[in-house]
């Protein structure tokens, strides 16, 4: 079950990945910096976090080249859960808004 052959990653790949990680981290800080509030904030932070995690898993753990299937299988369910969480949060705000506007509370 061992790796039949170990993939060689050109050093440039690592630099590119570092670059992207850097950008993603910067984006996370931006969220903080621009004081994005409410659910958007958490949605974005979690999104960037997951992207970073995904990238690291994919590249440094040699998933990217071989395990497309596995990666999708692992990433899709939590992503769809995340969509649910985000939309539910929006929905809650909407419902609450109609209550405040029309129902007096």
């Amino acid at each position: 079950m061992a790796h039949a052959e170990t993939q060689q990653h050109p050093i440039s790949t690592y630099f590119k990945v570092w670059g992207i990680l850097f950008v993603l981290s910067a984006l996370s800080y931006m969220v903080d910096f621009f004081q994005v509030q409410g659910y958007a904030r958490w949605f974005l932070i979690i999104l960037f976090m997951m992207l970073k995690a995904g990238l690291i898993v994919a590249v440094f753990m040699h998933l990217q080249w071989e395990r497309l299937a596995l990666r999708c299988a692992i990433l899709v369910p939590p992503l769809s859960l995340l969509v649910l969480v985000a939309l539910m949060a929006l929905e809650a705000d909407y419902v609450h808004l109609t209550r405040v506007l029309f129902l007096g509370g």
């Binding site: 409410g38 395990r67 299937a69 859960l81 649910l84 969480v85 539910m88 609450h96 509370g105």
Partner: protein
């Protein structure tokens, strides 16, 4: 090599002489089964978290004080998880006697955790935080109860494995069983920590967009 096989392969082109290996994941079926089960349980608690976040925003949410005993319980669960891990390591190193001790200690800690959770319920109940008084309470009871039930299920497997550990400490199946119990305990610990964070969230005030006060009515 790729456990799932490459999805890009053209199966009709593969030379017929070639008999590729199974392409199975390098784990025992029970390990794979447990991993899938953990994914299902994650979905379960993830959905509850989604419901929690939505319900929290609807205006009538009154956070309840988390009884301090929860910290003690958390400690117990963490210790249990560590003990099972230790047991698994010891067993692999060929020390079934000490492994058994650690294993029993792990189960004991889980028992203590459950007892502590019930104590937490009793405290809240005494303070008048009943299940139906407020959704915050309901979620607290529901989440802890579901988590406890999963741990209880784990204890059933634990008991079986403990018996194996007595009767056949050297068997491969026993080693596997102990390892699985440890993994499940770690998982439940992580779930518990996540739940705890969620339950504490409204208290600590760091959760976003909360509309406390002004209920309907």
């Amino acid at each position: 090599m790729n456990p799932l096989g490459s999805l890009g392969a053209k199966p009709w082109l593969q030379p017929a002489q070639d008999v590729p290996a199974w392409g199975r994941l390098p784990f025992a079926p029970a390990q794979v089964g447990l991993a899938i089960f953990m994914a299902v349980v994650t979905a379960l608690f993830g959905l509850l978290a989604a419901a929690y976040l939505m319900r929290m925003t609807l205006g009538d949410w009154r956070p309840l004080p988390e009884p301090p005993i929860l910290w003690l319980n958390t400690l117990a669960l963490a210790l249990g998880s560590a003990a099972l891990q230790r047991s698994s390591t010891l067993l692999r190193r060929g020390d079934p006697a000490r492994a058994s001790t650690a294993f029993v200690a792990g189960g004991g800690c889980a028992g203590a955790f459950l007892a502590g959770q019930i104590a937490a319920w009793a405290q809240l109940d005494a303070l008048g935080y009943f299940v139906a008084t407020n959704p915050a309470n309901t979620f607290f009871y529901l989440l802890t109860a579901l988590h406890g039930l999963h741990l209880l299920g784990g204890l059933a497997a634990w008991a079986r494995t403990a018996w194996h550990l007595r009767s056949a400490p050297g068997a491969r199946a026993t080693r596997l069983g102990v390892g699985l119990c440890a993994a499940y305990w770690h998982f439940l610990l992580v779930v518990w920590l996540a739940l705890l964070a969620l339950l504490m969230a409204d208290d600590a005030g760091w959760m976003p967009a909360m509309h406390h006060g002004a209920g309907t009515g």
